[in-house]
């Protein structure tokens, strides 16, 4: 199981890559493993405003759906257009090709409440 050092994580198993005011978001290796084969990803639209803790999309496997929650608030500036046609990217490469959205942070302080890789790994493994 992969927990890249440079990312931050949430208890709902999203990851955040911080690059100045724009962050990239996806779901973790643990999450994709739990979900099984992912068949579809529903994403918001560019321009949508997201609120921390609220759902921004849905990940579907054959027999289940999972909401994906915004780790931070902000405006969606880019979405991964490849995902609808290739949802398996989330399974195969959750941290790279499987990225979901990029948002412009409205409140950078929210990043402080996210977990780093070590803490997240502990959180996952204690279950």
């Amino acid at each position: 199981m992969n927990f890249p050092e440079e990312l931050k994580y949430t208890e709902d198993h999203e990851w955040v890559l911080v690059e100045d005011a724009v962050v990239t978001i996806g779901i973790s290796d643990f999450a994709q493993d739990q979900l099984g084969d992912i068949v579809f990803v529903e994403l918001p639209e560019v321009g949508d405003t997201l609120e921390e803790g609220k759902t921004f999309g849905v990940v579907e496997s054959v027999k289940a759906v999972s909401d994906v929650y915004a780790p931070v608030s902000g405006e969606v500036v880019e979405i991964n257009e490849e995902l609808p046609d290739a949802p398996e990217a989330v399974n195969n490469s959750p941290y790279e090709d499987g990225w979901m959205i990029k948002i412009k942070l409205s409140d950078p302080a929210q990043l402080d409440s996210l977990m780093n890789a070590t803490v997240y790994q502990e959180f996952v493994e204690k279950d």
């Binding site: 084969d37 068949v39 579809f40 579907e60 054959v62 027999k63 949802p87 398996e88």
Partner: protein, 485 residues
């Protein structure tokens, strides 16, 4: 022990479009005895591209072969929990095919179809007697539509009383149609955890003046009677709410308990479950709804009334929620259900419920030593096991698929969601002890196979027309129709 011999021919068959040969005909059309005229050319379509052209023999062979790939109740035991796959009596089929029932147009004046209306009226009355409700609508097309109608009536009642309520309480064991139907009425769903059965305390904790209704299933989807139901109905009523009951599990209750007597305000029936009408590979069903007095003004229209000069379809209901679909209901299915009730009589229906409960408990007694039973309360017509204790990383899915190799349709799996790897078995009353013994022997053998030769489960099924299918690919790259090339 294997009831699948692996002998005999199961023939393959391509798609209609792949078999099609230009110029073949399978039809016979009435002679044109009036002058031939056609519409303006500009309105007319080109021929329907790739529509098949087949002879009658082609078509008959095609569907005959397809039928041999299926498994029905007539093939063997079909122990699907919550589906009540009881035997579909053949006399029901004969009755439904009487020309006086099939050849009648719904817009024929009522005076000319008194037999049909009398049948519907009698069925309304009989369903009312079985359930304890003073009024019944036969219009909803299926259980889910019945639920929607019931929730619409609840909302209409609140609005007539000047009440604006926004929430509906639904247990975590409920069938998915329950929250879906509530959402269609604009309600927010509050899920309540049930530890086996619902407790008054759990309901009281979420019941307030903003709750329009509680939706229950009784017996619930674990096969348990909601023992606190009277108290729960009282407390919901005290706070101005109503109680909806999902009648899917009525097969345990006929002649035993009537929802209308114990505080339920509205309930749907599934004629294709309790009342023996066939499942048809997915339908058609029929979902009549019974209501307490207070909801009668809101019933969908039309329903059948009896007046001095005969039976009529009543449309004059100013507070009605409206109509759920065209015409009066799935009449062809109503005939079958009525025929069943006539054939069973009151005592027979009670006996059916008793034996359905006996059968489920017998299976439970034979299997509970080997399969994990999360709820120890008394089961009624269905029993739910979990996948705890299955060896060698075998799951409920693998048990289900291995059952196919032994010649059985699997039970319901992974429902209700509150049980881990749920295996829900409902044999129904039309199965003999002999069949149940064979079935239990097989399930015990499979549990043993999980310990010694788990690959038999994981590779299963190997004896059906196809092996396990790639459902991931089907969902990732959906191919929902045939196309040339």
């Amino acid at each position: 022990m294997m009831s699948t011999e692996g002998r005999g021919l199961v023939l393959d068959e391509n798609l209609l479009f792949e078999k099609s040969q230009s110029g073949r005909v399978g039809y016979s059309i009435a002679r044109l005895d009036v002058p031939a005229v056609t519409p303006d050319q500009s309105l007319i379509r080109d021929e329907i591209t790739d529509f098949p052209e087949l002879s009658e023999v082609d078509v008959v062979r095609h569907y005959t072969r397809l039928s041999t790939w299926n498994y029905g109740v007539d093939s063997g035991l079909y122990p699907l929990g919550s589906c009540t796959m009881k035997y579909n009596p053949k006399i029901n089929e004969t009755a439904a095919r009487l020309p006086g029932f099939t050849d009648i147009h719904p817009q024929t004046p009522e005076a000319l179809n008194q037999g049909a209306l009398e049948l519907m009226y009698n069925l309304q009355r009989d369903l009312g007697e079985i359930s304890g409700f003073p009024a019944i609508t036969l219009q909803p097309a299926a259980g889910a539509q019945g639920e929607f109608a019931g929730m619409l009536m609840i909302r209409a009642w609140h609005e007539a009383n000047g009440q604006k309520r926004h929430k509906v309480i639904i247990p975590d064991t409920a069938h998915g149609t329950n929250p879906a139907s509530s959402a269609l009425c604009g309600y927010e769903v509050i899920t309540v955890a049930s530890d086996g059965i619902l407790s008054k305390e759990a309901i009281a904790a979420v019941m307030d003046d903003d709750v329009a209704a509680l939706m229950v299933t009784n017996p619930n989807t674990l096969g348990l009677f909601e023992a606190d139901i009277r108290g729960i109905c009282d407390l919901v009523h005290e706070r101005g709410g109503l109680v909806y009951s999902d009648g899917a599990n009525l097969n345990a209750m006929m002649g035993i308990s009537r929802p209308g007597d114990i505080g339920i305000d509205v309930m749907h029936f599934n004629l294709h479950k309790t009342f023996s009408t066939p499942h048809g590979g997915g339908g058609p069903g029929s979902g009549p709804v019974g209501v307490a007095d207070k909801l009668i003004p809101f019933l969908p229209v039309p329903y059948v009334v009896k007046e001095d000069d005969g039976f009529k379809l009543e449309y004059n209901c100013p507070q009605s929620i409206g109509r759920m679909k065209s015409f009066h209901g799935h009449f062809g299915i109503l005939v079958r259900a009525y025929c069943y009730i006539l054939s069973m009589g009151g005592e027979g229906l009670k006996r059916a419920s008793e034996l359905a409960v006996l059968n489920a408990n017998y299976i439970r007694a034979r299997l509970e030593g080997e399969y994990d039973l999360p709820n120890k309360q008394r089961s009624l017509h269905e029993v739910v096991f979990s996948e705890e204790g299955l060896q060698n990383d075998c799951h409920t899915l693998d048990v289900a698929k291995r059952l196919i190799d032994y010649g059985y349709h699997p039970p319901t799996i992974y429902f209700p969601l509150v049980v881990h790897g749920a295996l829900m078995i409902e044999p129904t009353e039309t199965e003999s002890k002999q069949t149940l013994d064979e079935f239990c022997d097989v399930l015990l053998a499979i549990a043993e196979e999980a310990k010694t030769t788990p690959e038999l489960l994981k590779q299963a099924p190997v004896r059906a027309k196809v092996k396990r299918l790639d459902e991931t690919a089907a969902a990732r790259r959906p191919k929902l129709r045939w196309e040339r090339g």
